[in-house]
């Protein structure tokens, strides 16, 4: 390995107190832009909290929070072009929101309704992926298709630190490198895979080091620093559009919440580690930054929060008022055309339903 490989070190603009540790580049220092970025964080946080409440009150199924990790997804969502394709994993609602997936669609999904993945505004992105690391393979296929299209678009795929232990992750990364595919890999290293800490997942020095196994350029970014994330993803996308090669970002964050609403992190997480991590979370940090560098005050803040809350509340209303699927709809999307045997099963199902109701 030459020294050129060895530039892995945590990139940061904001320290955990919200202080700039290096000057902002000119393309990212407009107030509206910086506040727009804040808005993405806030809406994600409020949505997240609302979803947890809905789950607690039996109005949503198991839900995977992104609390404390919002900066990663918001940055991805902000940095991507509309014609890029996003291939998410289940913790990626921050990005989905920015990609134009409706909040009520996200709720439908977590409410156990397939229509939540039939995005009305967003035609090409993949739905949330549950089987760990499988999405990386889809991403290289999407990247291949984008390369054919010759419009300089990028497939952006995400996964967790745990996902980087799995075969599909390596296979896809290796192929992306070998075939020079326009694909951005972003790993949310939130330090935990349910109860397993990342130190137990791998002896690799950093997750970013894994990219070298595939000859893919990589960097490590403070995933709780919204600005570093936005700049990092933008740079990566630019480079990919330019040289057509894949790129890999390890976004270092921390899961300051349960794995999902079905999890109880107190069984395995030290209170102290959690408290330390809470100090570094992106919303507090970013608000301090805005306050210090952009004259952001509490009134501005509560206005923004209120506006976002309204949006979330409206989405919840929409969600609650969504009519259930027609009975037997689940037969209709197995194939483009319903085969004879399934048509018969559907008829039988509907007959039974009538009889028993």
């Amino acid at each position: 390995m030459t020294s050129k490989d060895s530039n892995i070190g945590l990139r940061q603009y904001l320290d955990s107190g919200g202080q700039l540790v290096q000057p902002l580049p000119s393309h990212i220092n407009h107030r509206t832009q910086l506040i727009a970025l804040y808005q993405t964080l806030v809406i994600t946080r409020l949505f997240d909290e609302a979803a947890v409440n809905l789950q607690r009150t039996g109005q949503l199924g198991t839900y995977a929070q992104s609390r404390g990790q919002e900066a990663i997804g918001c940055a991805i969502g902000k940095a991507m072009l509309a014609d890029d394709v996003f291939i998410p994993y289940y913790r990626d609602i921050a990005t989905q929101i920015q990609r134009g997936v409706l909040l009520e669609e996200i709720l439908l999904y977590w409410g156990g309704d397939e229509r939540g993945s039939c995005f009305s505004q967003q035609k090409h992105d993949f739905p949330l992926c549950v089987p760990i690391a499988t999405q990386f393979c889809h991403a290289i296929g999407v990247a291949f298709a984008l390369k054919q299209r010759k419009k300089n678009n990028v497939a952006v795929v995400t996964g967790g630190d745990g996902a980087t232990s799995k075969g599909d992750f390596y296979e896809a990364l290796n192929i992306a490198g070998a075939m020079s595919l326009p694909c951005l890999f972003v790993i949310n290293n939130n330090q935990w895979a349910i109860s397993v800490p990342v130190q137990q997942q791998t002896a690799a020095k950093t997750i970013a080091h894994k990219a070298y196994a595939a000859g893919v350029a990589a960097c490590q970014i403070d995933g709780n620093d919204p600005i570093a994330m936005l700049i990092g993803v933008k740079q990566a996308l630019k480079q990919i559009r330019h040289d057509g090669k894949p790129f890999f970002i390890e976004a270092v964050s921390y899961r300051i919440c349960n794995h999902t609403t079905a999890d109880d992190a107190t069984r395995y997480m030290q209170q102290k580690a959690l408290q330390e991590a809470e100090q570094k979370e992106p919303l507090i940090r970013y608000k301090k930054f805005l306050r210090q560098y952009q004259d952001w005050n509490d009134e501005d803040d509560s206005e923004l929060y209120q506006a976002c809350q309204l949006t979330v509340d409206q989405a919840i209303e929409h969600y609650k008022n969504t009519k259930p699927q027609a009975d037997g709809d689940f037969f209709d999307y197995m194939y483009q055309d319903l085969p004879a045997d399934l048509a018969q099963q559907k008829q039988q199902f509907l007959d039974d339903l009538n009889r028993h109701e």
């Binding site: 232990s165 799995k166 349910i194 109860s195 997942q201 709809d329 689940f330 399934l342 339903l353």
Partner: protein
Amino acid sequence: MNELTMIEAINQALNNQMRANDQLFILGEDVGANGGVFRATDGLQNEFGMQRVFDTPLAESAIVGMAIGMASQGLTPVAEIQFMGFIYPAIDQILNHAARLRNRTRGRLSCPLVIRAPFGGGIHAPEHHSESTESIFAHIPGLRVVIPSSPARAYGLLVAAIQDPDPVIFLEPKRIYRDGKQAIEDDGSALPLDSCFLLREGIDISLISWGAMIKETLEAATLLAKKGIDVEVIDVATIKPLDINSIIDSVKKTGRCIIAHEAAKTCGLGAEISALLAEKSITALLAPIQRVTGYDTVMPMFKNEQHYMPSSQRIIQAAIHAMEYR
């Protein structure tokens, strides 16, 4: 004697066998400090240490492959796959190696391992957390496939699976993990891996099922009894190798048979049972065998999962149909 739920009985069986066999190791995702996402391994790491109960990195193929390597050298690994929906990356290791190591080496090496996985629907879980694909494993020569339907059978069958010298896929119907308790003697005694369980005797019709569906099947039997239909209920439990003789005996007696399972219909285990009956006891049949199963669709996400899963109503209707058949 403790009153235990199924998940507690599984935990008890693991604990018992860990004590009995110091070469037994438990591995999987979140089986350590977390005690498994359903708590099947709760407390075991504390009691037996990090060496014997360990969290693996997130890699199902390697979990099973590693267990094969361990088993080949005389250890007894019990691997957990967190949900059956995530067992597929490991099918290659299961089918191409675990099931074949003894035969491949003509008995020089063997593969005494257990792979536990919660399966089946009905708990309002996310996608991929509710499927039943036991027949895929039943098709693979060299495996045992075992599915308990009560705390006591979970205990006794898991002990048997751990003690068995060959690879066992042990599927746990999570819908009934906490569905009532049974008194269980923690004496490490095993149930046989080659016999169905006769849960209810009757002379009019045989209802054949396994796993969580035993619940609907027994419900159906009770309701049918009220209509004067005397139902026999068989819990297949040891899916592979299959004890078809007990099923044939029952059907020879009753002349009618309904098979109920959650899995998709086409090439489900119901097909095999039905085919064997058609081959071996066709003359005993007073009515066509019926299968009451999941449909040949993806298991819907949870808003509609109850539409997918066979109800006791559907079983009853099939039974009445069979009784009325001329």
